[in-house]
Symmetry: C2
Subunit: 534 residues, 2 copies
């Protein structure tokens, strides 16, 4: 496997050592210098509401690509070839793992139903709509060489939202409800669109019938549950090993190493078993932050919390730099012999499809959820629906990776055109939408200073529930009445009741085996807290 | 560049996703499972004085290689091909950087002269002796196809000691003098032997004269000083940037990311400029722990300290696993058509040369140092000389990487033989000598409970010096007398006087610009301390 393929280039540097290839060293030096620049520039622009790290990295990458193009006198802009292995094996796992490790678990599980609806059903709706519209529209603007399979692939490719960019523009503390829903949807969406894409590759286009869609649904459910279970198992195993062997006794570094390696191993195992590595490592991160993180020494806690965030940060910045530099790849632009008019037409069509495809499920699903939730207080307001639509419009590295996979080895006339147009959509959506999201959220949500209903704690608190349940038992009422009371609670406040029983189960059976807060000396910090920053 | 090349193999796994190569995933899964096993087994064997992490990893790698050999029915034992790029670009830098970051600076600089003598002069002596003896002996045991250039390369290859393994068997707190000398020598030795190896590659063998050895010396001095300066500059730049921009204000993760990336960038820059990346990143680590580390937030300090150690730990374990798995590579063994007798003869000759080559400089140089140091108290005792000789006998990944580079593409009859014999020497020295070092040190040094003179603080303490110097000024003696007093101090206690004036310079000019302890809020920990482990 080649992770970073370098181009043969005309520079006449002397080989640095006899055993290191100069091309690789130049490429790595350029990339790491740009990473440094990104960090410093991103830091200086921190207070600027229009800028964010993704946009900065993308623009710096574009700039560097332009410089390389000048140095090569327009012959090539590449010093690195975009490689799917590099992306899926080394850059995506730390980002998704850290997301699971730092996510606010209570919020995430409270909105779990909404997240699943948006992530699975929403992505499927978007996939169908984009595929169908592309099929109908593209012939009219002169793109004739694509097959039905290609159009279905385009649907899957453009349905993959960019959860990385979302993380940077939304704030977990200011808008917890939106953050957990949009981000959670992003993770499930990643998995769904990759599953859809793989399904499209394997379907025999000549024999489509109703059974196939049922089979697809079955495959998806199998993937979803087994990936989740694998992630949970890996997380629990790490917690058990570290708790039982008491690693901190000798070395805090071994604890940290074991956490990183077991998380990565869960991703690799999932990929080996044809499951979704993204879902697996996400749930592994959640379980690790709930159990394993509490079993390690205080230094390991601080270290893992910040080291995982740093790894994720570097990987994110690297991806956007990469995409930026790759966008100016002159060979690709030359290969697509289409006219400027066709470029504009295809790109704007794809872009419009992204907008419509997302609107087609966000508004209907949100209103459907509002209908079945009887409490007025937890309705998703129109303003929030708008932000949910907007924040999922960005397309990122998953889109580019899938697009390369579909079209780069294809001999069809319009393949190069499809790749370049995908890149245009990614660049435009990330730069324009990415930089507008922060001001937009401020304008739409935060200036309406009325406290946001869905984000407020309007449901009965856990303590109230416990008192209620204990009171029921304490007054020696018949068991049936107590049971009926629990049942009615489950019906009126389903999420909180599930949470209450989960907590009881967790304290009784899980924590004694796997550790966790309260079963190791209490320390008043958590991966999401900031108590040790002082 | 291909970092991890996978073999095409006969297993019939279904491709995990359509865009990830199954071979890579299998290889990574196997490797990361073995890494987990190494950590757990290494932890369980922690109290065993015969075992250490290197030996465990090497034996586990051998075992895994044997299993793969059985699965392939003896056709191949490879799932990964040893790749010099992977080693020199990704595994070696974190190890050497962490060594610089955690080294006890005072001890290191106190013994700087000894370290340089052993690392440079000693390596050259060992190189000459091994080359000469190999040239004279190999023809007698039937190895006839090697050229003069090959013999010189063998000298350079076998002069590269394994500083990684040394770090694991010596303890910085128990034997600070030995640790700093042997480890410091290892770092300088790495640089020297790689420089020698590169010099051997570029020398025109037909026109050797006295000028060439002078030129080599000049090249070496240039490399040594410019590499060191580059490392110091990179470290100071990181300190300046972080101090000036005050990164901690926004994000602790950016500080950590910047430190990692700038350290790595210094290594890449050094390689790009044909300098020694190892020396550069080592000094970058020292400067970062002296200045940069004090400019970051408390969480960043804990994080960097443990994250760097963890990265180094993973890289070390990975290298030994790799070497272990690679040793059973059946193709290489088949390629060397020599008889078992020749194998034994060549391996034991090489091994004897390693023993003699090291003895030939350790004992003479140590006694020479004893002669010129007038104080009896700081003599290097014979017991210490023995440990210095012994601890540098292990050969590791640098030896294997150089050996591959020299012989793997060569068409000569005995090339494959040389590679396999080098591997035998590495395996034998690491497993046997590595596991015997810890008990040996206990037996030779620590049981003789008499406090070790060189390790005791027998030189005048810094405070005494300061009082002496202040008193000289305070009593209003003429300036000439005070100057003479400093001068006589410099002659009697050169290291401590240099240290004193360095401290004054540091406090007056360096720390106000680059930060450091005392110029940021005082926190009672240091990268080498363990105060935050509680």
């Amino acid at each position: 496997m080649s992770t970073i393929e370098t181009m043969s280039h005309p520079w006449t540097f002397q080989s640095s050592s006899d055993f290191l290839s100069t091309g690789t060293i130049i490429a790595l030096t350029v990339f790491f210098s740009l990473l440094c620049a990104c960090i410093v520039v991103g830091h200086l622009l921190e207070t600027n509401r229009w800028a964010n790290e993704s946009t900065t990295a993308l623009l710096l990458g574009l700039g560097a690509g332009a410089v390389v193009l000048l140095v090569y006198k327009g012959n090539s802009s590449k010093i690195l070839v975009f490689d799917e292995d590099l992306f899926f094996l080394y850059l995506l796992p730390p980002i998704i793992f850290n997301a699971g490790f730092q996510v606010k678990k209570k919020q995430f599980f409270k909105n779990f139903t909404i997240i699943l609806m948006f992530g699975i059903l929403g992505t499927v709706i978007s996939f169908c709509l984009i595929s169908l519209c592309a099929f109908l529209l593209f012939k009219k603007i002169g793109v004739t060489s694509l097959s039905t399979q290609d159009f279905l692939a385009v649907g899957a490719i453009l349905s993959a939202t960019d959860s990385v960019c979302t993380l940077q523009v939304l704030n977990q503390d200011e808008t917890p409800f939106l953050y957990s829903v949009i981000f959670g949807e992003g993770v499930v969406n990643d998995a769904t669109s990759i599953v859809l894409y793989n399904a499209v590759q394997s379907i025999d286009m000549d024999n489509i019938d109703a059974l196939i869609s049922l089979k697809l649904l079955g495959t998806f459910l199998y993937l979803f549950f087994s990936s989740t279970l694998l992630g949970i198992a890996a997380g629990l195993l790490s917690a058990f090993i570290i708790k039982t062997l008491y690693f901190g006794r000798h070395s805090t570094d071994r604890e940290v190493a074991l956490m990183i390696i077991m998380a990565y191993l869960s991703y690799m195992l999932a990929e080996l078993l044809n499951l979704s590595g993204i879902l697996t490592i996400f749930f592994c991160g959640i379980v690790m932050s709930h159990y394993t993180w509490h079993n390690v020494t205080q230094s390991s806690r601080t270290t893992t919390k910040h080291a995982f965030a740093t790894m994720s940060f570097i990987a994110e910045t690297f991806i956007f730099l990469y995409v930026g530099m790759d966008a100016l790849d002159i060979d690709k632009w030359k290969a697509s012999s289409a006219s400027a008019g066709t470029f504009v037409a295809v790109s704007s069509t794809l872009f419009a499809l992204v907008l419509v495809g997302r609107a087609a499920f966000v508004y209907p699903l949100a209103n459907f959820i509002n209908c079945i939730q009887r409490q007025d207080s937890s309705n998703i307001e129109f303003r929030q629906q708008f932000i949910m639509w907007w924040a999922g419009l960005m397309r990122g590295a998953v889109t580019i990776a899938l697009s390369y996979n579909q079209f780069s080895s294809s001999e069809k006339k319009d393949s190069a055109l499809m790749i370049t147009c995908t890149i245009i959509v990614v660049l435009f959506s990330t730069v324009v939408f990415g930089s507008m999201t922060k001001p937009l959220i401020e304008a739409v949500l935060l200036r309406h200073a009325k406290p946001n209903v869905s984000d407020a704690v309007d449901s009965p608190r856990l303590e109230d529930l416990r008192i209620l349940l204990i009171d029921n038992g304490g007054e020696n009422q018949p068991a049936a009445a107590a049971q009926r009371s629990s049942l009615s609670l489950l019906l009126t406040h389903p999420t909180w009741t599930v949470h209450y029983f989960w907590r009881k189960f967790d304290d009784r059976f899980m924590r004694p085996v796997f550790g966790g807060r309260g079963f190791v000396p209490f320390v008043p910090t958590s991966p999401t807290g900031a108590a040790d920053e002082a």
